[in-house]
Amino acid sequence: MDIYKLIEWVVKIGIVFLIFMHALAYIVLLERRLLGFIQMRLGPNRVGPFGLLQPLADGIKFFFKEEIIPRDADRTLYIIAPVVALVPALTTIAVIPFGDTVNLFGRQIELSITRVDISMLVILALTSMGVYGIVLAGWSSNNKYSLMGGLRSSAQMISYELSLSLAIVGVVIFSGSLDLVQIAKEQMGTWGGIIPKWNIFTQPIGFTLFLISVIAETNRVPFDLPEAETELVAGFHTEYSSMKFAIFFIAEYANMVTASAMATLLFLGGWHGPYVEKFPLLGPVYFTMKILFFLVLYIWLRGTLPRFRYDQLMKFGWKFMIPVALANVVLVAALALFLY
């Protein structure tokens, strides 16, 4: 194997990982500040300027907190659970492209850790693994609130994964590929120089469905039933403390980032934006901005919407989302037939 290739890999993984982990930390801060803003309060602003060092303080706190493992817990699973939650969440980032191929140091470098022709499916496969972390946590804690959380999580995952996949099918029909790079590339250019050729404009229904499903998949408000604190104390992570708790936290935010990245790639043209063709390195910047948009949306929703009741959630998923998603597939297929 080519030694440069190896170096390139190591560097890419290093950079992405570093940025990603930091980003996660700061998304938490962003969320807290934004929520504060929405709720007309300050949020954490004492540690460092504007509270910018707050994530660091939180990290230190988590590290030094006492770790508690309940006596009747299933120890093995209890310890494994956070890992199971985190690993898929972090692994997905490997196949997400954040820009087109750029020419750096005399090498063609793809702006993704690795490129596979079915990256879409890989992401789906990996994210679907994420539920096991929650389920395991819920089961192993041997606590009825946790168990309920785990149960709800798995049911929710199965239910919304269908509409999620169906929403994606629409995009796949349009771009004719399961490769995220290819999907993003298909959205290059504009109509009449004004409207970008993003999928969001051709399939707004698909976008909406995707967004709703993805929020449900990441267990975020208004679909945060697995950890609904008013009913289940803290749901699946009721018994978790210190770093284990933090890992769940990280996993959740990593999932949010992945989801936002997917939304960006599938519907908002990925890294495309003005002048990207000329300056490929602008791609990641656009990409980050779009992701940020979705993250803010997430937080905004959390600040705005009340939580669903469990039966409402199920009814909504099966009786509204899936039929509409199916109809959307038909619609998109007809549209594709008409357009191409």
């Binding site: 699973l77 596979v116 890989v122 496969a125 539920v131 096991y132 149960l151 199965i158 994964e161």
Partner: protein
């Protein structure tokens, strides 16, 4: 050599996990062992250049079917298998010759199949299969009928599950 080593690792893991499926007393542990098997198999699929099915394996089996299993295990809160195996020792005994026959028979056959098709000249010319395109093409041409029929299958599975799992209308 790399590949072979990799295969051996995957195979060992798969067999280990599979054994764990039947050795574990708790269904949940079995379920997670089974997920392990699925993951290893997905790995072997990818080694066989069947990436598409590898991904589908993870999505459908590990991501959907097993979630269902785990869901039901949790729903029914089955902590341990209620009976120890030794009560049914004769079944164990029954299974040993059964397994032995099966495995000897199949392994004997398989180990006789040493011919490697890839060494055949005309085989090398054939394109690789297993990418999403060839699968998609196959599904909508030769396999159109079975593909369409899966819709009936799924419809009836949905109807069936709903009937069985819903509560009696009082």
């Amino acid at each position: 050599m790399m590949e072979q080593a990799f295969f051996l690792i995957l195979a060992t893991l798969a067999v280990g996990a599979a054994l764990s499926v039947i050795i574990q007393r708790s269904p949940l542990y079995s379920a997670f062992s089974l997920i392990g098997v699925f993951a290893c198999l997905a790995g072997t699929y990818i080694m066989l250049k069947a990436q598409f099915l590898g991904a589908i394996q993870m999505i459908v089996y590990a991501g959907a079917i097993m979630v269902l299993f785990v869901f039901v295990i949790m729903l029914l809160n089955i902590r341990k298998e209620e009976t120890a195996l030794d009560k049914y020792r004769y079944l164990w005994l029954l299974s040993i010759p059964f397994a032995a026959t099966l495995i000897v028979e199949v392994l004997y056959t398989i180990l006789k199949v040493t011919s490697d098709f890839t060494s055949l000249p005309e085989m090398a010319k054939r394109p690789e299969v297993g990418d999403s395109q060839s699968i998609g093409y196959g599904l909508y041409t030769g396999y159109l009928m079975p593909f369409e029929l899966t819709s009936i299958l799924i419809l009836l599975a949905i109807v069936g599950s709903v009937i069985l799992a819903r509560r009696e209308k009082d």
